[in-house]
Amino acid sequence: MDTNDLIVEKVIQAKHTCYHCGEECTDDVIRFDERDFCCDGCSTVYDLLKENDLCGYYNIDGAQGISLDKSYFQGKYDYLDLPEIAEKILEFTDGRLSRVNWLVPKMHCSSCIWLLEQLHRLNPAIRSSVVNFPEKRVRITYDSQLIRLSEIAALITKAGYEPYISLNDVEGKHIKKWNRTRLYKIGIAGFAFGNIMMLSFPEYFNLGRASSDQNLRQMFGFLNFGLSLPVFFYCAADFFKSAFSALKGKFINIDAPIALALTCIFAISLYQIISQTGPGYFDSLSGAVFFMLIGRFFQDKTYAGISFERDYKSYFPVAVSVLNNGIEIRKPITELNPEDHIIVRNEELIPADSVLLSPRAMIDYSFVSGEAEPLERKKGDTIYAGGKQTGPAIELNILRKVSQSHLTQLWNNDAFTKEKEDQNQTLAIRINKYFSMIVLMIASVTFLIWLFILKNPETAFRAFTTSLLVACPCALLLSSTFTNGNLLALFGKHRFYPKNAYAIERLSHIDTVVFDKTGTITQSNDADVEFVGKELSDGELVIIKTIAMQSSHPLSRMIVKKLTGTTASRRILADYAETGGAGIRANWGKRVIKLGSAGWVGLSVQNEGIHNASRVYISFDSEIRGYFIIKSKYRADLAETITALQNTGFQTYLLSGDKPTDKAILEPIFGNESHLLFEQKPEEKLLFIKNLQVEQNRNVLMVGDGLNDAGALRQSNVGLAISDDINNFSPSCDAIVEGKQLGKLPAYINLAKSGQQIIKFSFAISLLYNLFGLSFAVAGKLSPVFAAILMPVSSITIVAFTSLASNMAARKLIKN
């Protein structure tokens, strides 16, 4: 009995951890160079590093390596050498030296930075490589006469860091990057603010009244005016632009009153300088601009590495293998034409609607439809774009161009063309509208009273300006920008990434939560596997695992995963055969083992009955031993989360593209059968959300993951994408959350709500300041020094209050 000997030897072995990636070796242990590795991918990367004397990699952060991606194959990046593609991907080239800036989503630790900056040691033709860790990018400069771009891509892929090159890069649509102009503006505004304040000191303390100092006063005035010019015309330009474009669209946004106040202050100060009636308020002007710019900067620069604007183009490969007279070449998918003959390998996405030429294919549509199980397709069937082949490579004949394929039609829906941010709706705007009106009224009434009743035009102008200045809505703007900026950072700390402040505000109004099923409330790549039947011996488990490992069918993989404790044998299987849609059969010594459907092992189909999970039957020498039940695994805290949401008054729905297999499990959780919808196409999901919004007037939060939810995410008030790897894939959405954090959803919504309260409260604080200042301004008694002190003090109070209050709210609401 050689099987038994083998088992004894395997059982004694202790746990092994992979030297490269640090994970426990579950399937197989590969001994290489006296070290353990969990897979070939890891040992290959180690080999490459060792060869180049780069093992210092392991001394920095320990075993943190990334395994070589299984989908890599020789020639995968050949398309990068095509001149028309290289031209769009290269950042710079002079024919000799070239530079490329690639997104490498897999970098995660300081070892990664070290290795990616040592690329010149892997190949001397690479001159330098510089990592930008927050953006997860590496900029590689290389000698294009000595190395090709495809070779560099292959090299860093072999080191475990596959560059992410999407169709968007090739089409030249770069995601708008955070730019440096904002920094220039802050720098210049701060510079002007400081210098103007310094030059205004004599005015603050009422010095220099002697006639001999008049020239000096005048010069200081003109210097202040000169310094404020770049502030007004350059630094504050964004406020004017945004206010102007809002007025053109016939609504008032938050920038409109600011633009008005800035213009008034500037004009009055200019008048005072020229007429020599006063020093002007250039210090307050540049200070206000400076503080507001800092507030906006704080709000915007939260996460550079996360992209919220992904559509199908981000998911699709850049190139596919095309057979041309028997020769395989890589061709960009934008150039695919009907009748092209393509090859799609295991785990590769099918880019365009096409007809299957190979005898059989297993297509996983989970990405598009949300359906968990792969579908079998036979020769001659039409396969729609977005499916993934699981199993051996298949050949296809293209039917339609990529842009005309079934899947891409979804993006033509109206939901994708309109913007969600309705500027009239935000809290700050609503309050500001009344506020600006009242301030303008007070200022004008003051002006008229001083002018006509008290007959004092000098004080009338001064009172008018100072009222506008003191009551400037800047403080209001500060309260919302700083609160939201701080909330964005706090959410980010708890692994929830809203796109911007508007998304937080919309989140606070949510009353209905709609969940997608596959990948959202179930865990992708994980399942509950249970064996029912006569107990299997250790030896039999080894046999089952060894056989199941040969198959790439998802169910086989789930079984392999379940049998983690068992180590597979390395024995070569005789007569291994896989029959699509049925199961696998293999010989183990003299025994014939079958894994598969009931019919495959010889069980009469009537016995199968109706069940809500996949079953894999096992037979040894035609004796049926039982079956594995494979159920999709729900996220651990799903039930509590849904109950918590329902108890706080939210309506909850389930919207799945999958078959209603788990209805019985989900019904008690969601409580109402009519709230469970199955077999929904992407367009139907979008319509469902639209109906909730229009007919029932609900504010909908859609939680989804794949492309199939893209329409619904877009249509909803807040689209929340679930992603187990934040830097990987997520469809176009308003917020991204890590899968494990889904249980905190009620807490996130509550934090967004208290954020709105904090904004209202800080409005109240700044109103108090304003009333205080206004009472002096209306009386015409506001001295420049008082204005100069009051303005920064009120700003600092607001900033301190909002950050303190939001930190406290986050600590109270979100518990780890």
Binding site: N59, S110, I113, R180, I188, L199, L216, L223
Partner: protein, 56 residues
């Protein structure tokens, strides 16, 4: 009082040169990445240690 004029000019000159230095550093990408350099500076010394150990 004329000393004041010279002082003002001198102070503005210094202030402008600092502003110029700031603009220059932004232009050179000084503020593009505020995290990686802090890691990189620690890594370099680490590498030397490794190579030393290797040559020993």
């Amino acid at each position: 009082m004329s000393a004041i004029y010279i002082m003002i000019i001198a102070s503005l000159f210094i202030a402008f040169s600092f502003l110029g230095a700031f603009v220059w550093s932004v232009k050179r990408g000084h503020y593009d990445d505020d995290y990686t350099p802090s890691v990189r500076i620690l890594l370099d010394s680490e590498v030397e240690k490794v190579t030393q150990r290797a040559t020993e």
